[in-house]
């Protein structure tokens, strides 16, 4: 299987690192896009011109205009407001999934990579979870647990953890064999200390890059879950739900479908660019396997 982690690049000086990051075009464009989406989402309640949940029967299926920048849907709800709130939900879910996946992935992966005897059973379990296409696993878990934001987060995290654990494990295994770890052990450092200070510090780079992709995938998958109907329950204005609504009216009112789709595209594109930029700066050798 492809291995995304390689020898860790020598830790760059702080100042030059920031400079190189900002000089990387991929990173800056990605950061700008993501920043834009984050700001808009955070201010959703403030800047949304209308209540995303309230319909207005006299304003049904209106094309984009000065009053409604993205038009209205079949209930007369303002699409722009719905998209802004949908962005907030997506980002919340994406962030939570990334954090949980990172935490669990590190714990599982580091354990498997460092303690050889646990490696076999842990990796078998990870392999078993990875045998299911991740979106299907997420759909199944989400449907079984019931529709709610929390369950979506759990489902998406479970789907993302195995691959992340594997990446962390690979980093840990590489660094474990390096000589300075042997030196630390010879000086009497205990397992925990070695793990934390030396090994994990170097596994950080591929992990951080991976997290941007996990975030992006979480947004995409959450949209799928909502589209199918196992995401956060209505009337939550998630991207997927808006698109699902718009599906029936695509000829009469294509803007209902187009607007949230573009919003997803911009967010995911931004995250991918951000991840690419980070990867280029942190360790170009990781460039073979992405996501």
């Amino acid at each position: 299987m492809a291995n995304a982690a390689t020898l860790p690049a020598p830790a760059p000086g702080r100042a030059s690192f920031a400079r190189r990051l900002l000089a990387n075009r991929s990173f800056t464009i990605g950061a700008a896009l993501v920043g834009l989406v984050v700001v808009l989402a955070l201010l959703a309640s403030v800047i949304a011109p209308f209540d995303p949940l309230k319909g207005n029967f006299r304003a049904r299926m209106l094309a984009p205009s000065w009053q409604h920048w993205m038009g209205t849907d079949h209930f007369g709800r303002d699409i722009l407001s719905r998209v802004l709130h949908g962005a907030r939900i997506s980002l919340q879910i994406g962030l939570m999934v990334s954090l949980i996946t990172a935490a669990a992935g590190v714990v599982i992966g580091a354990t498997a990579g460092y303690f050889r005897r646990s490696d076999g059973p842990i990796m078998r379990l990870m392999d078993a979870f990875m045998a299911f296409p991740s979106i299907i696993l997420a759909i199944a878990i989400s449907s079984v647990l019931g529709a709610s934001v929390l369950n979506v987060i759990i489902a998406l995290s479970i789907a993302a953890i195995p691959h992340t654990a594997r990446i962390v494990r690979a980093s840990v295994m590489v660094v474990r064999e390096m000589e300075y770890v042997e030196a630390a052990r010879a000086l009497g450092a205990g397992h925990a200390r070695i793990l934390l200070r030396h090994i994990l510090a170097n596994a950080m780079a591929p992990l951080v890059v991976r997290m941007t992709y996990v975030f992006a995938v979480a947004i995409l998958n959450e949209a799928v879950l909502s589209f199918i109907g196992v995401g956060p329950p209505p009337p939550a204005p998630t991207f997927g739900a808006i698109i699902a609504n718009g599906r029936d009216f695509i000829v009469a009112a294509p803007w209902i479908t187009l607007a949230p789709g573009f919003a997803i595209l911009v967010s995911v594109l931004g995250l991918n660019l951000l991840g690419d930029g980070l990867r280029d700066v942190l360790d170009p050798r990781m460039a073979v396997n992405t996501r």
Binding site: M1, I136, I141, G146, I228, V230, T257, G261
Partner: protein, 314 residues
């Protein structure tokens, strides 16, 4: 080679067992009573009892688990609550549809993706390279189901070139089969194409800088031949290793694409089951997909040995 296959099969047994366990355990995750999740609030007590018995919930956990393993080994995945037929037969009926969609999408994404990657690598730094890679990035950032809807809107409804959905079996009418599969295949392949293109490009760039490519050029061989026979032949090796993951992602995407294009495949069956809480079908479908994925990975490992002679045993 035979020994290699046997070794791999043996190594996949623990994973298979765990996969079955996970699928089985899904039912236990249901908060509350699965029977009432399936039927709604107005169900009678006896209807609930009936469903509970069908799901085997009246028996202790370990007995159920043993029973599950035994039945799975025999190919019996239970009975659909909704359709009242064998899950296995329902799945097998729809499988060819999903497989043809997935296989076509796989071919398209590999062929087009590799071609794009090779072209970008050969024209490194120039407009073609940047253009192709931007397209690839867009491709893998786009939500598949949304792309499907947009395509339907544009080229099936507004400008009716392709049919908007449904499926025609190959045996019935090959041309219509192709026509009906065209849009779904492209939608499904779009994301993977982006991946393959990017991977191929970076792999090619690395390979083209290697010494043996210089040797090939020193022999006076024509450049296109060198790029393919010496360049791509080696660049493909890391890509083959991720083909298994690709198929897994395609299978996942196929499920959603079938929903968008109303294609009667395994994906629609599973999603229908998900929405109606038809647990046996959810479990069976999941197990089947995992099995397909494991078989595909075995084939990929064999393919890897074919493509890279350094890996072959003995």
């Amino acid at each position: 080679m035979g020994r290699f296959i046997v070794q791999r099969l043996l190594a996949s047994i623990p994973v298979l067992l765990l996969v079955s366990l996970i699928t089985f355990a899904l039912l236990s995750l249901v908060p509350g009573d699965p029977a009432s999740a399936f039927l709604d609030a107005s169900a009678t007590a006896e209807a609930l009892e009936r469903v509970r018995r069908e799901l085997g919930l009246d028996r202790p956990f370990l007995v159920r688990m043993g029973d599950w393993y035994l039945r799975v080994l025999q190919g019996d995945l239970g009975t659909s609550l909704l359709l009242n037929r064998s899950v296995t037969s329902a799945i097998l009926e729809r499988l060819p549809v999903t497989l043809s969609l997935t296989a076509m999408a796989f071919l398209v994404s590999v062929l087009l993706g590799m071609a794009a990657g090779v072209l970008a690598a050969v024209r490194h730094g120039k407009a073609a390279d940047q253009g192709l890679m931007t397209l690839a990035l867009l491709g893998l950032s786009i939500p598949e189901f949304w792309l499907g809807l947009v395509l339907i809107w544009l080229v099936a409804v507004m400008v009716p070139i392709f049919p908007a959905g449904d499926y025609v079996a190959f045996a019935t009418n090959p041309w219509q089969w192709a026509r009906h599969l065209a849009l779904p295949t492209f939608t499904l392949a779009c994301v993977q194409m982006g991946f393959v293109a990017r991977m191929t490009r970076s792999s090619m760039l690395e390979v083209l800088g290697q010494d043996f490519v210089r040797t090939a050029r020193a022999k006076g061989l024509p450049e296109p031949y060198v790029v393919v026979r010496h360049g791509l032949a080696n660049a493909m090796v890391p890509i083959v290793t991720v083909m298994g993951i690709m198929v897994g992602a395609l299978l996942g995407g196929a499920v959603v694409t079938e929903q968008v294009f109303s294609i009667p495949g395994l994906g629609r069956l599973i999603i229908g089951a998900v929405l109606s809480r038809d647990f046996p079908v959810i479990q069976g479908g999941l197990l089947f997909l995992a099995l397909i994925y494991l078989v595909v990975n075995l084939v990929v490992d064999l393919l890897y040995a074919v493509v890279d002679p350094r890996v072959r045993l003995g």
